[in-house]
């Protein structure tokens, strides 16, 4: 099972509604994935800055953490709290020092990093998780989300999607991969590191390795058709947009819709029914083994 929702806005007037629209897409997918929920939102990002999304236990003293990060960042860091997550903005050139400083906080996890990407995930049903993080108030150009029914690894926050293995890059997956251990070993030899035993994190790492090697998103996705074995529908987010790929057998369902104002992906049509203008949208099923992508111009 599992459910995926993705929304890419063409009409900038909708940007302040992005979070609310995604929350509305994820809620009906709870039947497909009630175990955990996560989403990546591509919002504002200033040149020369990097946003780090951190997660800590409820007992964490954020002031101690922020004081330490401010020292590493060379000045006070802008921060925003969303339930268990904290988004801090640092000068990009201080990223390595700040990451090193974070190692001193074993109970704090780095959930995601990027100039524009903020990433949130927790155990729980989508309507509950969306509400806890305040998704409906978030804005941006595009966002992807996932509701998980766990199959290949445990129901934990770390096992929740999206998975990210590079700045501004993330991946959500519906399906299961059969050769993820072999691919993980190869990617570790190439210098990537992984946080979990999860198969989907390997797919995210594979795409990251391809992009680092200079390939385009389209080429990276095409390469995964031969490298990754198993069932999958992937939605992959980058700073510029998102891509969609289904395995050649097309085991997992997928629906897309497009209007003049947006492009949307849903595991089921039910995820799309509240989007503005859906009744006049072009609705179609993406073909197997074909790369679809939308990126900011």
């Amino acid at each position: 099972m599992c459910g995926i929702a993705g929304l890419f806005l063409k009409d900038r007037a909708l940007e302040s509604d992005l979070g609310a629209l995604l929350a509305g897409m994820l809620a009906p997918l709870s039947d497909r994935g009630p175990d955990s929920t996560g989403f990546a939102v591509y919002g504002e990002g200033a040149a020369g800055t990097l946003k780090l999304t951190l997660r800590g236990p409820p007992t964490l003293d954020a002031n101690v953490l922020l004081k330490c990060l401010a020292e590493a960042a060379g000045g006070p860091v802008v921060h925003r709290r969303h339930d268990t997550h904290l988004v801090v903005t640092i000068p990009a050139e201080r990223a390595a020092v700040v990451r090193e400083a974070l190692r001193g906080f074993s109970e704090v996890a780095l959930v995601g990093a990027g100039r524009r990407m903020e990433l949130f995930k927790e155990v729980g049903r989508p309507d509950d998780v969306s509400r806890r993080f305040g998704l409906a108030r978030m804005s941006g150009t595009h966002a992807i989300g996932h509701t998980r029914m766990a199959t290949e690894s445990a129901v934990t926050t770390d096992g929740a999607h999206p998975f990210t293995t590079g700045d501004d890059q993330c991946l959500v997956h519906n399906g299961s991969l059969s050769n993820h251990n072999a691919v993980r070993r190869e990617l570790i030899r190439e210098g990537l590191s992984f946080e979990t035993e999860n198969d989907s994190e390997v797919a995210a790492g594979f795409i990251t390795a391809q992009l680092r090697g200079g390939r385009s998103l389209e080429q990276a996705m095409e390469a995964s058709l031969t490298a990754l074995d198993g069932f999958y529908t992937f939605v992959i987010g980058t700073e510029q947009g998102f891509g969609v790929l289904r395995d050649p057998i097309a085991c997992k369902p997928a629906v897309m819709a497009e209007t003049e104002r947006w492009v949307a992906f849903g595991t089921e049509y039910r995820a799309l029914v509240d989007l503005p203008g859906i009744d006049d949208a072009r609705v179609w099923e993406p073909a197997p083994a074909r790369v679809y992508r939308w990126e900011l111009q």
């Binding site: 057998i249 369902p253 089921e268 049509y269 039910r270 009744d279 609705v283 179609w284 099923e285 073909a287």
Partner: protein, 229 residues
């Protein structure tokens, strides 16, 4: 005409109301609004009524249909008209995977495209798709007819038994034991009957289709293969 708004009542209530109808009911026309991609709309109908659904439906719409006519003014999700026994299901948009799966009888008409595994394990249903069908359509198809006006995806008719496949466009590869067969007059007559039933006029010529079926090499044990087991 009965008018059901699924924004106000549940699919379960709709189906229960349809199941209560007797064979001689006078409530023969039903309209269903706002399906919003919900699953299992109008399943298990047995009375000879017409149900018209305005909008896109989710999975298994009109499954197990018997004698009823179900019209979808939109797209259908996976498994539309699965295991249909008789009657007619007409999808005016596209259908997702496994349309008409395991169907035993009746007629399924899809005005748009059907995606993968259309007519998988069909057992007597007739399916007419006016667009294309996806890969592995008519997989293990046992009986009935699949008519495709557009193209068929890879591995058409894989491991087919005795169903007949008619394709007007290109077949992008045949599955194991599926072969092209000659179009004789009796096949053209049968195809004409199906095209007429699907509301297609003489502008669609039965002579433009190719026929595919089983080479019958796979489903009997072959002594030469004994060493393979």
């Amino acid at each position: 005409m009965a008018d059901i708004d699924l924004a106000r009542s549940s699919v379960r209530d709709l189906n229960a109301a349809l199941h209560r109808l007797g064979m001689d009911t006078n409530e023969t026309r039903w309209r269903v609004r706002n399906p919003r991609g919900q699953h299992s709309v109008a399943v298990g109908l047995e009375a000879p009524v017409t149900v018209e659904i305005d909008g896109h439906v989710g999975y298994y719409c009109a499954g197990m249909n018997k004698d009823a006519t179900v019209i979808v003014n939109g797209n259908a999700g996976q498994g539309v008209a699965e295991n249909m026994m008789s009657g007619k299901v007409w999808v005016k948009g596209d259908a997702s995977q496994a349309a008409g799966a395991t169907g035993c009888g009746g007629l399924l008409v899809i005005d748009g495209n059907a995606s993968a595994r259309c007519g998988i394990s069909m057992k007597g249903i007739d399916i007419v798709v006016k667009g294309d069908v996806g890969h592995l359509s008519a997989f293990m198809a046992q009986a009935g007819n699949l008519v495709v006006l557009g193209d068929a995806g890879e591995a058409l008719g894989d491991s087919i038994y005795e169903a007949r496949l008619f394709v007007r466009g290109k077949a992008h590869g045949l599955g194991a034991d599926c072969v092209e067969k000659p179009m004789e007059d009796r096949h053209k007559a049968e195809l004409r009957r199906l095209l007429d039933a699907a509301g297609l006029g003489r502008e669609v010529d039965a002579g433009q289709f190719r026929r595919y079926g089983s080479a019958r090499r796979l489903y009997h044990f072959h002594i030469d293969h004994a060493g393979s087991y």
